[in-house]
Assembly symmetry: C2
Homo-oligomer: 420 residues x 2
């Protein structure tokens, strides 16, 4: 009997290291050729499965797959597309099964965040609900660090390293010019609901007076007066003030400080541009000269300054996903288990998808200082190991040499088209 093939797809916002997980999945699957046939990747995520647009990863050389480890973004394309419930859209699941059957797919690896874990959970139940035997394993990924059970989320450590480095560097810049120039600098970072990325900026402030002097968390209702007082204190004490602000901060009415009105496919508000709002508040109150930056995709794509810990964990969860599947574990997700913080030791654990799907892990309140503008020592102890180590990509012509795969299509076997 021919071994079953595997399906792998990337889902949701991509990261600097999601391809390292893809590398872990594919390299590990290639080691078990008698058990796993080919790894087919969904072109543009789950949409590729629904439209029978599969990529044959066996056409990629060993070196090309290896290069995924140092290439940011989603090499096979990702998408924001959430499967509805079985009751609401049975046709989608029937189609998935049709495609899986046509291509002899028995393993399903889904690389994403909370929404994707829910999709993976539903796929893992297909044998029960629709009689199609499949083993589905979720591969965790999200810069937001908001998945439950796992100690941290692959993808987060690299954003954390990037934003902490960036605010430190900008802080040095502002400090050296503050006498006659910019006194307040605002960096806007991602993290719609959870302040993990904002907290990571706080890692740069190791000593009294270090930038950033103010953090604005989405967990803490924005209080203009307290914020402005804090900025003034910093300018008077240190000559300047560097602020890191989450895109998701809200005022007392529960409104985002910067609401563009746009929504993504999941109905989430599309945010961006709170930095100028904050900077203007300061300017109007005190007249301080200001500058602001919005890191946007730069932060989650910054493979050039990825955390080695994060790269290793991303690879490890991809590898473990395949091992779990081969051991017959269905409906699970590899997790990162922290064994100790100093020295940092971690291992791979296993979570049940029903414990992961659709749950968000928020920042514990005791990770944020009492006044709401800084991180606590407990938070630092948690975050610090996650940004440790560098894992530089190779360079060519002065630039990171990232790979673009051939992404050869698997010939279609089904008639007609499926509309998504």
């Amino acid at each position: 009997m021919k071994p079953k093939n595997a399906f792998y797809a990337q889902s949701g916002g991509v990261t600097a290291v999601i391809n390292a997980s893809a590398c872990g999945v594919i390299e590990t699957a290639r080691k078990y050729r008698t058990k796993i046939g080919k790894v087919y990747a969904g072109r543009n995520g789950i949409i590729g499965a629904l439209t029978e647009d599969l990529i044959d990863t066996s056409k990629e050389s060993r070196a090309a797959i290896r290069a995924l480890r140092h290439t940011p973004s989603g090499a096979f394309g990702s998408c924001r597309y959430k499967l509805k419930g079985l009751e609401q859209n049975r046709a989608q699941y029937e189609r998935l099964i049709e495609v899986f059957r046509a291509h002899n797919i028995g393993y399903f690896f889904y690389n994403g965040g909370g929404d994707s874990a829910d999709t993976c959970l539903k796929v893992s139940q297909l044998s029960e609900t629709m009689g199609y035997p499949i083993i589905a394993v979720h591969v965790p990924k999200t810069v937001d660090n908001d998945l439950p059970v796992t100690d941290c989320c692959p993808g987060f450590g690299s954003v954390a390293k990037y934003v902490a480095t960036s605010i430190r560097e900008a802080g040095f810049d502002v400090a050296s010019m503050a006498k006659t120039s910019t006194k307040v600098f605002v960096l806007e970072v991602m993290g719609r609901h959870a302040g993990w990325i904002t907290a990571a900026c706080g890692l740069a402030a190791e000593k009294e007076g270090d930038a950033p002097q103010v953090l604005l968390f989405p967990e803490i209702t924005f209080n203009e007066e307290k914020f402005l007082t804090k900025v003034k204190e910093s300018v008077e004490q240190y000559g300047y003030c560097a602020v890191a602000v989450s895109e998701g901060i809200k005022n007392a009415d529960g409104k985002f400080l910067s609401e563009s009105g746009l929504r993504d496919a999941f109905g989430h508000a599309q945010l961006g541009g709170v930095a100028p709002v904050i900077a203007n508040l300061v300017k109007e109150k005190f007249g301080y000269k200001y500058h602001w930056a919005v890191a946007d995709y730069l932060q989650r794509a910054a493979r050039h300054i990825a955390s080695r810990t994060d790269v290793e964990q991303s690879y490890a969860v991809g590898k473990a996903a395949v091992q779990f599947a081969l051991q017959g574990h269905n409906s699970v997700m590899p997790t990162i288990v922290r064994k100790s913080s100093k020295p940092y030791k971690w291992a791979i654990g296993m979570a049940r998808l029903e414990d992961v799907a659709n749950r968000e892990k928020n920042m514990p309140r005791d990770f944020i200082s009492e006044d709401g503008f800084a991180i606590t020592g407990k938070c630092r102890a948690y975050l610090e190991p996650l940004i440790k180590g560098e894992d530089y990509p190779p360079y060519k012509n002065g630039l990171p040499d990232y790979i673009k795969l051939k992404n050869a299509a698997v010939p279609k076997k089904l008639p007609g088209e499926f509309k998504i």
Copy 2:
């Protein structure tokens, strides 16, 4: 006779590598103790000289001075403060001489851009104009790459490497999500009058279809219709469009697309925020989902991804400045002379300050493609060597380990205060 002391100051916007020049100046001066006494740095640039606020760099350890080579920003503080002409403010020059005389200063090293070269020129003429013997050498620095005579400007190569890397990484990100998410990404970069930094973004587009697909230069009047057509073509052909835009682009009326109304100490408009303007144009016309980023200070402070070529040249101009001074050259500036592009070979040259001060080097028109949205092969050949090589800083706790000097004050010798 006691050897003369040297005065060193940083001027204008700081960079990721201006401290490498400081390192070059101080380390070299320390090698000639019989000829140069101490190196006094101006706290916050030339203001430190006027207010007799001098830093005694001899109090810093060898290791601390060495660490300047990998530390971004201005370690002694910089300022935006331009000396007026001798006729307009003779008192300023008399004060400078008073301070120089009190501290036995015979060498003046000024590390800055075009405005600073003009100040340095005026100081170099003090023996002629006011009878105070001094040797003044300018140390070139500007991310804008707009100084004449020199082939390139220390500070530019590192920004160039950062922005090209960033737009490549963001381009990969957008490409992988474009099917269902963001189709247009806009990165705003510095370069008020000259498009060198925008051009550097173009280095990332090595192959047909690579990001960025559109560059918006300050040298090219913004044409909304042509721009939108170009964006549409890119989205239709490649699925997405990455745009790099200079903060300084203007429309046909000569107005900045984003004019905040603020002005800096030199009367330059303070820009920022053209990225959202551009992104909105696209959204309104085509409805494409967009994202935008503003790199702001992140780009000029990004020592973590400095160009090795740039670091070496920055150090070399600092070193050469001291050597020139010791050879008795007054009113000069070390330059970078390109010997060949492939392989890249460079040497240090010497320019007369009167040929440097107050002149801007613009992008040659043949560095920009005919349609105005890309760089030419000629431009690439010029730029590529400048971003070559990496020169990573040391890391501690997962973050670049940058130095903060003690910056011990030289005891004041003059009575009273000088108001600036």
